[in-house]
Structures are given as structure tokens and as C-alpha cells.
């Protein structure tokens, strides 16, 4: 019976569950502004390049939108969720109260409960009044519950707040200023090579580094090139290669031996300058390096002539002693190349003489070959396989 008591006590305060109706919203515009809104799960980086350093700040991705600030008033009316219960309570209460009143009024006509009297009523007037009063009290109590429920379910709940309503998107990839990504892995993508790990962002989401330490020295760079930065293996932006290019170009130029090229003593004295110009053609020092290299060219030509002549001179005797057209051509070819490359070289006269001396010999060998070939073809015509035979004549007459 405990639950009955509890239910009774609850019903004293009120019975029907009271809820809230559907919200009614009223917006009053306040102002216009632009604001960040978290967008997707991506990462956005702010990349700065002060000098040769790169400063990367990693943030969550936001979109920049036009926002209208409004004062939003939400009103929800209280609703009796079980009105039938209260109607039943109210009706029963009214019926009981009316009955109680009738019993009270009627109690004046009730005889005394006196067994010795000519008139008798088992209830008696006083008990009838008690019954009537009880009925009235019970009826009023039930009606009161319904009235309390009615009071509880009247009125509304209202709250007001400032709300930003998103409008047109201005940029769907901006860093969320209040959402830096700490401890994120930062790496440089190096074309076809494995990305180079640079470091981790700090608590403020920022990492500053010098690319020179992370881009392999052997990697070819372009002055207008860019390198992709990765945060947690996701591309977030690009850094310009120009500062790194300039840094490395200046360092490479400072390592060049200008004097060795300007006053060359070997054929390859200016090779470092040539490699420098190939690697950094658009560098700040390219013009100066080119100038140095060009100034050294006449002297380098002399050095190359001397070196070539040193290789060709011992071959002159061999050129002159050849007895077949094939070996003559092969042995004298270096002399012809030297004469062509260095028409005014130190070995010009000796080369010319040697080539003139073998010219008559070469002419005689060519005439002999013509005669030999003609005789061979005639012989073949008379043979059993003239075509196959004729094909071998050139080889036979050259050897």
C-alpha cells in the first residue's frame, strides 16, 4: 500500500504530467559580420617565410562566412500532457462537492438516531453533516488538483540569446584562429623522394625551421619552384624555394675558386664554374660566374689545343704507314678531327703535311678498289650464283 500513499501524496501536489509545446522562434536582427565556422576535418596551415626560415602554424579547417547576428527569442508554452485525467478529476470533484452540499442541506431533515423515539434515522443529523462535509471536502480536493494542474500547465517558458546565422561562404579553407594543432608532424614533400620529416608543432601549433637542413643538397632546385608542406601526412600548402635557392647559390659561389678559372692551368680549371652555371642559371651570381668563365675561354682554348695535340702527334706515323683503305681511314681520323677543331692549333702544319702525304696514297687505294670490284663482278656473272657472289665484291676489294 506504500505506492498508494505515494501516489496520493503526488496527487496532492498535482497529477498530470506537464510538458512543453513546440518552440516558437522569433529572430530580431542585430548586426552583420564575418566569422569562422569549423568546416570538415581538414588541417589548414599559415605559412610565412621570414628570410631563409619557414614558420608554419597548423590549425583546424574553418570556413569564413558572412554572419547575421540576431536576438533569438524561443517561446514554448506549457502543455498538460494528460488533460483527460484532470477533466475526470474535476468532474468527479464537482460531483462529490455538489453531493456533499445536498447531503449537508438534507441533514436538517434527518431524524435523530434515538431508538426510544417515534422517529428514527440510523445515520443521525450530526453524522449526515460529517458525511456531507467529507464529500464537499473530497470534491473540493479533487477539483483543486485539477485547478493546480491547470495553473501548472498555463504560461510559457521563454529564453533569449544572441545567435549567429551563417550566410554566404567567403572562403571555405581558412585556419580556425582558436584551434591550433599541437604536436603535429610536419614534413616536406620532395617530389619523387621520401618526404623529409621536419619536426612537430608546439603547443601553439607553430613550427619554425630552416629548409636548408631538410632538403637534400643533391636535389635540383628551381628559383621559381615550390615545395609542398605536409602536416600529419596531409598537404597543407607550399613554400617558395626561392630563399633556399638563393642561400645555396650564394654558398656554392663562395666555394668557387675564381682565380683558378681566371688563370687556368688545366683544361678543366673552369669546370666548377660550368657546373655552377648549369645548377644555378638564374642565381644572383650567375652573371659574374659567366663573366669569369668567358674571360678564361681563350686561354682554355690554348690549353685544350695543347692537350689535343699531345694526343694526336704520336698518331701521325701510324697514319702514314697504313696499306689498306679501311685502316688508313681509321688511323688518320684523329688528325682530321684535330685539324677541324683547331684549324689554327699548334699542330696545324704537321697535321696538314701528314694528311696531304696520305692523300695520294688514299687516291691510289681507291682506284685499285674500283678496278678490283669491276673484275670481281665480271667473274661473278659467269659463276653459278652471280647475285650472292656480287654482294661479297665490296668486302673482298676493301681488305
Amino acid at each position: 500500500m506504500t505506492w498508494l500513499r505515494v501516489a496520493g501524496l503526488l496527487c496532492l501536489s498535482a497529477c498530470a504530467p506537464v510538458g512543453l509545446g513546440p518552440p516558437k522562434t522569433l529572430d530580431a536582427p542585430l548586426s552583420q559580420r564575418t566569422g569562422e565556422v569549423p568546416y570538415g576535418s581538414g588541417t589548414v596551415a599559415a605559412i610565412e617565410q621570414p628570410g631563409v626560415l619557414v614558420r608554419l602554424a597548423a590549425y583546424r579547417r574553418c570556413k569564413l562566412v558572412e554572419q547575421t547576428m540576431v536576438r533569438r527569442t524561443v517561446t514554448r508554452e506549457r502543455v498538460n500532457l494528460a488533460p483527460g485525467l484532470d477533466w475526470a478529476l474535476g468532474a468527479t470533484g464537482a460531483a462529490l462537492a455538489v453531493s456533499g452540499v445536498v447531503v449537508l442541506v438534507d441533514s436538517g431533515s434527518v431524524y435523530e438516531s434515538n431508538i426510544d423515539s417515534r422517529t428514527y434515522n440510523p445515520v443521525g443529523p450530526s453524522n449526515a453533516r460529517v458525511i456531507g462535509g467529507t464529500l464537499v471536502a473530497a470534491g473540493l480536493g479533487l477539483a483543486a488538483i485539477a485547478l493546480v494542474d491547470q495553473a501548472r500547465s498555463s504560461g510559457f517558458q521563454q529564453h533569449t540569446e544572441a545567435v549567429a546565422i551563417d550566410g554566404r561562404t567567403l572562403n571555405d579553407r581558412v585556419p580556425c584562429s582558436q584551434s591550433a594543432i599541437a604536436e603535429a608532424d610536419v614534413a616536406l614533400a620532395l617530389g619523387g623522394m621520401e618526404p623529409s620529416f621536419v619536426g612537430r608543432t608546439g603547443k601553439n601549433g607553430v613550427l619554425t625551421f630552416e629548409p636548408d637542413a631538410f632538403v637534400p643538397a643533391a636535389m635540383e632546385l628551381r628559383a621559381d619552384g615550390k615545395l609542398t608542406l605536409l602536416v600529419d601526412e596531409v598537404p597543407v600548402g607550399e613554400m617558395s624555394v626561392a630563399p633556399l635557392y638563393a642561400q645555396r647559390e650564394a654558398r656554392a659561389y663562395s666555394e668557387l675558386d675564381t682565380k683558378a678559372c681566371a688563370e687556368p692551368r688545366a683544361v678543366d680549371a673552369c669546370a666548377p664554374f660550368e657546373r655552377f652555371l648549369v645548377r644555378y642559371p638564374a642565381g644572383a651570381h650567375a652573371a659574374r660566374a659567366h663573366e669569369t668563365r668567358t674571360a678564361a675561354e681563350p686561354r682554355l682554348v690554348v690549353l685544350r689545343d695543347q692537350a689535343a695535340w699531345a694526343r694526336v702527334e704520336p698518331l701521325i706515323a701510324g697514319c702514314k704507314t697504313q696499306k689498306t683503305l679501311v685502316t688508313l681511314e681509321a688511323a688518320c681520323q684523329p688528325l682530321r678531327e684535330y685539324a677541324t677543331t683547331f684549324p689554327n692549333g699548334v699542330g696545324r702544319e704537321a697535321t696538314t703535311k701528314a694528311l696531304e702525304s696520305v692523300a695520294a696514297k688514299r687516291l691510289a687505294l681507291e682506284k685499285q678498289k674500283v678496278r678490283c670490284t669491276a673484275a670481281c663482278l665480271r667473274t661473278c656473272e659467269r659463276g653459278p650464283e652471280p647475285v650472292t657472289c656480287a654482294a661479297t665484291c665490296d668486302t673482298r676489294c676493301t681488305e
Binding site: 462529490l96 431508538i115 423515539s117
Partner: protein
């Protein structure tokens, strides 16, 4: 359970409409002379009127006792096993 509640409501309604006075009972309005000073008694709505020491006295019985089959006019009893309520012997009390 539902039936019991309905019945209770019906009873309450009936009680409310009529009130407790519906249970009122009135015995016979007679005098000792009419009861021949105790020789007879009278019964109405379960109340027996008899004459004792020159005064009408009333005995309360069940509401329908007056219509029971064992009753004999002038000698009403509450129940067959009961005695007739005491009364005088029919002598007119002396005035002096």
C-alpha cells in the same frame, strides 16, 4: 474493480440526490387511549408503539418488521422469538 467503482459512484450519486433523510423512519402516531391502555400495540416502519404507565413508548425493530408474517395485529413483536413489548394491562390509570 471497474464495476465496484461504478457501483460506488452510483450509490454516492443516489445518496447525494436523496440525502440521508431517505433513511428516516416514523413510528405510529397513537395515544394510550387508542392502544386501550396497553391491551394493544401498533407498528409502523419497524417501530412498535405501546402504552406503559400511561405513556406511549416505542421499541425499534427492523425496518420491515411490521410486515413480517408472524405478526398479529395489536400484538407486534420485533422477532418471532421475542416477547411482545411490555405494556399496561388495559386498566385506565386513575386520575386521583
Amino acid at each position: 474493480m471497474l464495476e465496484l467503482r461504478s457501483t460506488c459512484r452510483l450509490l454516492l450519486a443516489a445518496l447525494a440526490v436523496t440525502g440521508c433523510s431517505v433513511l428516516n423512519r416514523e413510528g405510529p402516531a397513537v395515544t394510550c387511549a387508542e392502544l386501550r391502555y396497553g391491551l394493544l400495540n401498533a407498528c409502523e416502519e419497524g417501530i412498535i408503539a405501546s402504552c406503559l404507565h400511561g405513556k406511549v413508548v416505542y421499541t425499534l425493530c427492523d425496518a420491515d418488521a411490521c410486515q413480517e408474517s408472524f405478526q398479529q395485529p395489536g400484538a407486534y413483536r420485533c422477532a418471532p422469538e421475542n416477547d411482545v413489548p411490555p405494556s399496561d394491562d388495559g386498566q385506565v390509570p386513575s386520575s386521583g
